[in-house]
């Protein structure tokens, strides 16, 4: 008998940015970006967050800019 599938709380099928109609992801909005940063400080993969590919690309760019400006950490633990 196979083990039951594990579902994370973070798993969400709808892209947050599409749902909230955000068309430009600003690197200065640390609060918004921090939703996509797990404890370790990495960028959350979209298979977990459910973000669409268009927004994931914008998001990763914004996170990298925010890291450069010390709004988000490169590593944290």
């Amino acid at each position: 008998m196979p083990a039951p599938k594990r579902f994370s709380i973070k798993r969400r099928r709808v892209c947050k940015f599409c749902a909230e109609k955000i068309t430009y992801i600003d690197f200065k909005d640390g609060k918004l970006l921090s939703h996509f940063i797990p404890e370790r400080g990495k960028i959350l993969p979209r298979r977990i967050s459910g973000v669409c590919s268009v927004h994931q690309r914008q998001l990763s760019e914004a996170i990298k800019r925010a890291r450069h400006m010390a709004i988000l950490p490169f590593v944290s633990d």
Partner: protein, 135 residues
């Protein structure tokens, strides 16, 4: 002319007056290169996510400019020379914002074309505030 967002972090050892003077100086630099500072956003002293040059916090300032590449080049050169600027980042935003506006307007047009889902904008005439009684 292009729109840029130039963000920089100034060292926390600076006083507020020195920071203001530096921002004013940068504004004159941009104007000297036929640019225009549209907005100055001073976040004040904020903690850094990690240490930069052994500082744990810094003054965040974001300038929104209407300028050409030459102004940005001059601005960045000055940031590199100035000891109290510990980090800076210039981002060209006009293309992204234009795209964002395009998507928004297309979405609005779609909402108008689909009147069943769009809320009715026609209001009752009676809903207007009643005029003052005469006499």
């Amino acid at each position: 002319m292009r729109t840029y967002e130039v963000a920089f972090i100034a060292a926390p050892t600076l006083t507020a007056e020195e920071l203001e003077a530096f921002i004013a100086q940068m504004q004159t630099v941009v104007e000297g290169k036929n640019g225009k500072v549209v907005k100055v956003d001073n976040w004040g002293k904020k903690p850094l996510a990690y240490k930069i040059k052994k500082f744990r916090d810094g003054y965040y300032v974001i300038l929104t400019l209407e300028a050409d590449g030459a102004a940005i080049a001059e601005l960045e050169r000055r940031f590199r020379v100035a000891d109290h600027v510990i980090r800076f980042l210039s981002v060209r935003v006009d293309t992204d914002l234009k795209r964002s506006e395009k998507i928004k307007s297309a979405r609005q047009r779609k909402a108008v074309a689909r009147p069943m889902s769009a809320p009715s904008s026609v209001e009752d005439f009676e809903a207007e505030p009643p005029s003052a009684p005469i006499g």
